[in-house]
């Protein structure tokens, strides 16, 4: 299963239900909840950090966090 880190620039995914336990509380509170749409906006060099828009929130997270969050890609 792919994670946020596997998204290409501009690609959309949906956070999977099984990620609930691994998402840090703070990130959940900022809108990164299962079912939410996530778009990759920009990558810093070496693909880290990632600039994403999730549930309407524009956030930068590190790759180590993005690796944990599983997503379903839209077909």
């Amino acid at each position: 299963m792919s994670t946020i880190a596997d998204l290409h620039k501009g690609e959309i995914g949906y956070i999977s239900e099984e990620s609930l336990d691994v998402i840090p509380l703070k990130l959940l509170e900022m809108g990164c909840i299962p079912g939410a749409e996530v778009i990759l906006i920009q990558l810093a060099p070496l693909k880290d950090p990632l600039y994403i828009c999730v549930n309407g929130s524009h956030l930068a997270i590190r790759k180590e966090t993005a690796d944990l969050i599983k997503i379903l890609k839209s077909e």
Binding site: L20, D21, I23, P24, L25, K26, L27, L28, E29, M30, G31, I33, P34, I41, Q42, L43, A44, P45, L46, D48, P49, Y51, N55, G56, S57, H58, L59, A60, I61, R62, T65
Partner: protein
Amino acid sequence: MSKNDIKVALIGNPNTGKTSLFNQLTGLNQKVGNYPGVTVDKKEGTSKLSATQNAIITDLPGTYSINPTSLDESIVLKTLLKKDIKESPDVILVVADVENLKRNLLLFSQIKDLEIPTVLAINMVDQMHRKGISIDLSLLKKELNTEVILISARKSEGIDEIKEAIIRCHIAAKASPLCGIDHKIDPDYFHKLKEISPNYSLYELWLMVTQSNFPETITKEEKEKLLSFKQDTSKLKKYQHKETIYRYQEINKILKKTYIVDKTKATDLRGRLDKIFTHRIFGYVLFSLILLVIFQSIFDLASVPMDLIDGTFAQIADFAKSNLPKGVLTDLLTEGIIPGIGGVIIFIPQIAILFLFIAILEETGYMSRVVFLMDKIMRRFGMNGKSVIPLISGTACAIPAIMATRTISSWKERLITILVTPFTTCSARLPVYAILIALIIPDIKIFGFLNLQGLVLLLLYALGFASAIIAAYILHKTLKVESKSFFVVEMPNYKLPSIKNVFFEVVEKTKAFVFGAGKIILALSIVLWFLASNGGSSYKNAQKTVVENAAYQHLNEDEIQQKIASLKLENSYIGMLGKTIEPVIRPLGYDWKIGIALITSFAAREVFVGTLATIYSVEADDENTSTIKEKMASEINPDTGEKRFNFPVGMSLMIFYAFAMQCMATFAIVKRETKGWKWPLIQLFGLAFLAYISSFLTYQILS
């Protein structure tokens, strides 16, 4: 403050214009204090709500949730859980950004569940049209069961409505939970929790359990019962996650009915700007250019006011000297206090200008892009994208820079940033570098256009940054500090900076310097004045000795006075100290006179220049750099017969000042921010050792 004043707590996510609203409500009636026991600034102000009603407004630190992850955020929870009549807020004013309403409502829903009267201000509604947003206000009020006001803090729209709503809300004093977490997650569990105390709402009790944050008013018995809930930590974590999901579900339900975004009407300025500012090449090029502009401006713009301040304080001292009766108190005033205050004020222009730029970059939303661009690079050195701001601020003054590290949530990354910030070339080093460069580097142009003196100064700045980075890397590899790190930064929308906010920010940061560093610089100036103007018997007999010898040497009156001053200094307590350390500093190329300057400049580095001026008995009314420079240039080393300030000594001194933590105020702030003596002492001695070794090598190799 009168008893009838309504106590309002202002809460909101970062980047919602909370500060703008606070400034609008309070104007100039604000002050910065401290929360008891912690070093977080407490911003308070009074607002006239109506002809008869005032409010005391507390601007709480910006936060995304009341579950804190940093020191600043924990203040929010502490304030809200207070049950003290004097301190607990009567009304909470939640500020939300219209564009991020969903996320902002999460915090609102948490606060609402505390069952304190709440007003919701939805800010930046002037942007609604451009973003294609429409809101059904009356339905939203009903669904949220609260006062909702649409405002534009920057355009001062809706401010009066907020004031009226605060009064209405205070009178009605009704408060009901929004999300009622109990029956949705685990009814039995929350029922038991609720039964512990009737004095608190369920959500308050839940927060006490999850955050271990117990108000003073809770009884011992109640606390024990609450602690029993903490045993199953995985359950707690699971329920916290569930709670957040549930809140979002409720918020989504409400917004579906009341909040519509028509994306076809929205303009995507943000996307276009982000393509440039976060670009993997242009992003860095632009950041370098911005830095260049900032440093250029600091030098160009600050020199005029700095000269003015310098001149003014010299005049004040002269005026006091010639108009006050002679005595110890006058001496203390003219030689200790006035120059001491002058030594603090002189840095204000540079510090204010730098913080003006930083405030603008933060206000526009650009700073978050820098954090994004720099995070990976800084992480290699054990720091964080957010460390960039302290490192830039450090070129003005380490005090506000070290305070700016508070936003870094990982303790290890924050500690490394604190420890290496003093390497950056702060404004107090400039006068020292300036005079030494003028003495030992010829004023010539190389390649026809590069000023050699300017180039050396630039290299010293580069040395500062490079050593900060190298030191950080070494600390990163060697420090064994436990820290769980989680990094998330919001990338706010771009906006034009508000002049008012920038102004208040600059004033606040400058004040932090004046009162943080200033107090210490002033106090040390007075101590040093005392040590320099008192001494043993040779000190007291200096006048006699010189006058007795004067007859043989055919000296005129001026020369006699100068001799007396030099002899006095040599035999004062500080002179004795200088002589005591001379054997230690001789391998670096310094004599006891430079030793005195090294000691006195521990108050602040720039005191070095003033001390040398006194040592080489430059007359007080003639204290400009050129004469100090001439005196220093003509000083002869009796051992070699050469100039005292030759190339090796000058280089050795500059290297010493580049590394040594010659700043009492930085030491004090590091002690405060790291909560103990350990790190400031390690830093002080580590840097002193490094400075000594480097200066030793510099001198020995060059001479």
